[in-house]
């Protein structure tokens, strides 16, 4: 049985308990033996992306020490969080130090959820059923930093009863950008409203994303627009029966 | 004599005056040529896409084509490059007989600016982009292809070059070169494409057989 560790992310932890539960169920059904290390907090992306590189180190060390307890691969429900660890953790530490070696090790065995399903487990059909009109928002770091261009759509298209409709400006940023929402709230608002407009125009009743951050942003935006369209993490779609 | 900017640059880069030049990275291979007929067809097609008018023409057809051009565009004054080929084609004679006043291509800029039509050749042509490449000299003054509202370029297949690589290899020491790709245009006002802002509004390209 393959083993893996759950990386629940700070946003998942605070706001998306059922998504994390679904992630657990799906992986276990696929035969993965899961562990969850409670010492994990956050990957440190909000600090790192905003220039507080020195302050990020302590956060990264906490993350690495938590996940170093096992050598099993780490799976997270967010391309940006996984990307942070995979692409930026090694650069935080001086080469030749034990911290750097640990960072390189952790970076080599961390996966985004859809990436793990499609590339490692080689699975695209998890037996989900969701008879609705569905569209997809391609989150920026998931798409560009992690290079995950086809995984989400393969999984979405394998869902029974689902009718896929394309989203205009699918790859355009939704305006979340982490702290950007509170650094330039009005610009974030314009970008969010643009995304909401496109979602409504798609004719879908559900929009799927692979990022908790984008999910929070779009779901809130759709609510404010008085729309009944559901914003959903791909994990919750794949857990639908 | 010291140059503070160059000194700053060297200091920033950690170089000394004696530091050698690294190897310049390799450039991609140029576009390979296709058959002459295919290149001519591509070239004329690109001219069309640029809202120019390109056509094949024989020397026998020049006179009537000029007549139509003069009539269509109400040409009263024209300037023509004084090159051997254009002399041989008797361009200036035909224009005179059509009542068009000929201004010397070397006349001063105010006089050239009064011309409605400027006729040149092209020293090179690029089929991929529909580009005319013109040298500049006393025989080939720059203003003739620039100020009149109608520019006619008479070109031959021998001017074809598959890629700008070849043009540059031949023309790099020429002191002045201009690429002309279609008539003058702008989209500055509400993105509405407008032709003939400062350069010619109408571009005609006549491709001779040889």
């Amino acid at each position: 049985m393959p083993k893996a560790q759950l990386f629940i992310t700070c946003l998942g932890d605070q706001f998306y308990t059922s998504t994390l539960q679904n992630m657990t169920h799906i992986l276990e059904r696929l035969g993965v033996e899961l562990t969850f290390l409670p010492e994990q907090t956050c990957c440190g992306q909000p600090l790192f992306n905003n220039g507080f590189e020195d302050k990020t180190r302590a956060v990264a060390l906490n993350f690495m020490r938590a996940f170093a307890k096992s050598d099993a691969p780490i799976i997270g429900p967010s391309g940006s969080c996984v990307g942070m660890v995979k692409h930026h953790y090694p650069s935080l530490f001086k080469e030749g130090t034990s911290e750097h070696a640990l960072a390189v090790d952790i970076a080599s065995r961390i996966f985004e959820f859809t990436e793990y399903l499609v590339s490692v487990l080689k699975v695209t059909d998890v037996g989900a059923v969701y008879p609705h009109k569905v569209t997809y928002h391609a989150s920026c770091h998931y798409l560009r930093e992690m290079g995950l261009k086809t995984e989400a759509k393969s999984l979405i298209n394998a869902v029974k009863g689902l009718e896929f409709v394309p989203l205009n400006e699918e790859e355009t940023c939704c305006g979340f950008g982490g702290a950007f929402t509170v650094t330039y709230p009005e610009v974030s608002r314009s970008m969010m409203e643009n995304k909401v407009k496109n979602i409504i125009a798609s004719g879908a009743d559900t929009v799927i994303t692979c990022e908790p951050g984008c999910l929070m942003n779009m779901a809130g935006g759709l609510h404010n627009a008085g729309s009944n369209i559901r914003a959903m993490h791909i994990i919750d779609l794949l857990a639908s029966k | 004599m010291s140059n503070p900017i160059l000194e700053n640059i060297r200091r920033s880069l950690g170089r000394t005056e004696k530091a050698s030049l690294g190897l310049r990275p390799v450039i991609l291979k140029p576009r390979p040529p296709e058959s002459v007929d295919s290149e001519i067809a591509s070239f004329l097609d690109e001219i069309k896409k640029l809202s120019g008018v390109g056509q094949k023409i024989s020397s026998a057809e020049i006179e009537s084509a000029l007549k139509n051009l003069v009539a269509q565009h109400n040409i009263r004054k024209a300037a023509v490059w004084n090159t051997p080929r254009l002399q041989q084609l008797q361009i200036t004679n035909y224009l005179s007989s059509l009542g068009v006043e000929l201004i010397s291509p070397n006349a001063d800029k105010h006089k050239i600016a009064e011309c409605d039509l400027g006729i040149t050749e092209a020293d090179f042509i690029l089929p991929e982009t529909g580009t005319l490449v013109l040298y500049s000299s006393a025989e080939k003054p720059r203003a003739v292809s620039l100020t009149p509202r109608v520019h006619l370029a008479i070109v031959t297949p021998s001017a074809l070059r598959a890629d700008m690589h070849q043009v540059f290899a031949e023309a790099k020491d020429s002191r002045y070169l201009v690429f002309i790709t279609g008539p003058s245009r702008t989209a500055d006002i509400e993105l509405t494409v407008t032709l003939g802002v400062h350069g010619p509004k109408n571009l005609y390209v006549w491709m001779m057989e040889n």
Partner: protein
């Protein structure tokens, strides 16, 4: 309330003391994003079509990136070679360390030649140094001849887009500007307005004593200036007056003509979706013969203005690879929602966000590196592969904690918040404790399952959209499950 014209004053100043992106971006008239989006969408579509035609596009980008990298790392050699060649072609070369030096040099040349009128083709370098103001102050009429630049010159505003600077103005507004400025009754028809510009400016081209241009590239191999335009005004400015002055940044130098093939194939396609712009000129020194037209005297003013200092930073200096195509701005969702004015500088969009802080410093421009969600769309389209998001993060580090080039400039309250966050996230017992008690807040703000109207600083989120309720129950759920399964207590 910040009026849009005050933003223009800031852009026109060239040396602002502070660029308040947040403030400017909150006062953008709605007409600007909608006009900018129309323009950018068209250019993006055009670019995509041209890229699809070229199977070797990615190789071209790599070649472009490699050559520019090589050139800036050997800039001293290429500039030395360039100068030699321009001089032997009979041109003059002036070196301007600062914007003030450049202005002084151009004014000196103008004075020596009794220049009363100068016609200018579009040049961002001349905007950077505020040349027009200096010329006007010296009693010289300096006329922008690129239609978009001409319009914003009359309007007295800065550019809203790098390539189409007046795109934010409706044709009725342009007609009104022409009518007022020229004392005529101009119709609201773009074709007619262009004709009016053609006739009005033609007189100026023919009588101006000096033509001023910028330059897209400087070929070191032969001392050749390359100018890429569409309207013909660039050719007019360099053909009609007897005097031609080109103000060009030192970063525009390239090694040779073969390198140029790569950039000419990348530039127009990336900028507007044209295969080539209408006119590309290759100018080496003044004219040789009298009958050919062209200037008798050619002056190249090489502008440093902070570029040689930027070279010191191995990460930041990638910004000097830029060939000013505007493709990054065309895809940037932030730029598309605010337009050019919000960046407080002659150069806007993603490239502006990384260039301005390096030229003016991170005290003045500390807000600009944050004017991005780091989405990365710009890096995907940059023809010379400038890693813009990497440089944005690099400059954010300069602002937030300082580096070898600058002290930090992040305001204390934000640094303090970051300290608290770092503490809570690094000491996992603090984080876990916080996660348990946060749901206490819910009842005070919950409406319809969402949290709204929260106090500062969360108000900056909730004023735009609601927050989901705090509900960190996974850890408990996992513990209960594990206990049940294993039959042990934790």
């Amino acid at each position: 309330m910040l009026r849009p014209c005050r933003v223009n004053d800031i852009i026109m100043t060239n040396t602002p003391t502070y660029i308040g992106f947040e403030e400017y971006s909150e006062h953008v008239p709605a007409s600007i994003p909608s006009a900018v989006q129309q323009a950018t969408n068209r250019f993006v579509g055009g670019r995509a079509a041209r890229v699809a035609e070229l199977p070797q596009w990615e190789q071209l980008r790599q070649a472009g990136s490699d050559i520019r990298q090589h050139t800036i790392e050997n800039m001293d050699v290429y500039l030395t070679r360039l100068e030699q060649k321009v001089l032997s072609a009979g041109g003059n070369v002036h070196w301007a360390e600062t914007a003030a030096d450049a202005r002084r040099i151009v004014l000196q040349i103008a004075k020596e030649n009794n220049v009363k009128t100068a016609v200018k083709s579009k040049s961002m370098a001349t905007e950077e140094i505020g040349l027009n103001h200096a010329l006007e102050a010296a009693g010289i009429e300096a006329i922008e001849t690129d239609l978009g630049e001409y319009i914003i010159q009359i309007a007295g505003t800065g550019p809203s887009h790098i390539i189409v600077p007046a795109v934010h103005l409706k044709k009725e507004e342009v007609a009104a500007l022409f009518s007022k400025h020229l004392g005529i009754d101009a119709p609201s028809d773009p074709i007619e307005l262009a004709r009016i510009a053609r006739e009005t400016l033609r007189e100026k081209f023919l009588t101006a004593e000096m033509g001023i241009s910028g330059g897209n590239f400087l070929i070191a191999e032969t001392g050749t200036l390359v100018i890429v335009t569409n309207e013909g005004n660039g050719r007019m400015c360099t053909t009609m007056p007897d005097l031609h002055v080109a103000v060009v940044g030192i970063d525009k130098v390239i090694p040779d003509w073969e390198s140029l093939t790569v950039f000419l194939k990348l530039l127009a396609r990336s900028a507007t979706g044209q295969k080539l712009s209408t006119y590309t000129q290759f100018i080496t020194g003044p004219r040789r013969a009298d009958g050919e037209f062209g200037p008798k005297e050619f002056h190249l003013v090489l502008l440093d203005n902070g570029r040689s200092k930027i070279l010191k930073d191995p990460v930041g200096r990638d910004v000097l690879k830029c060939i000013r195509c505007g493709a990054c701005a065309n895809v940037c969702p932030v730029y598309k929602n605010v337009g050019g004015f919000a960046y407080g500088s002659f150069i806007s969009g993603p490239i502006g966000a990384i260039l301005t802080p390096q030229m003016l410093g991170t005290q003045t421009a500390r807000e600009l590196p944050y004017a991005s969600t780091l989405c990365g769309a710009c890096a995907d389209v940059c023809p010379v592969k400038i890693p813009i998001p990497t440089i944005l993060r690099h400059l954010r580090r300069r602002v937030a904690q300082g580096d070898e080039f600058s002290e930090p400039s992040m305001p204390a309250p934000i640094r303090f918040t970051a300290d608290l966050a770092a503490l809570a996230l690094a000491w996992n017992w603090i984080y876990r404790f916080g996660a348990r008690i946060l749901p206490i807040i819910n009842p005070f703000f919950r409406r319809d399952g969402w949290l709204t109207g929260m106090p500062y600083p969360l108000s900056r989120w909730t004023k735009v959209r609601p927050l989901p309720a705090f509900s960190a129950r996974f850890r408990q759920w996992w513990n209960v499950r594990s206990t049940k399964e294993k039959g042990t207590t934790r």
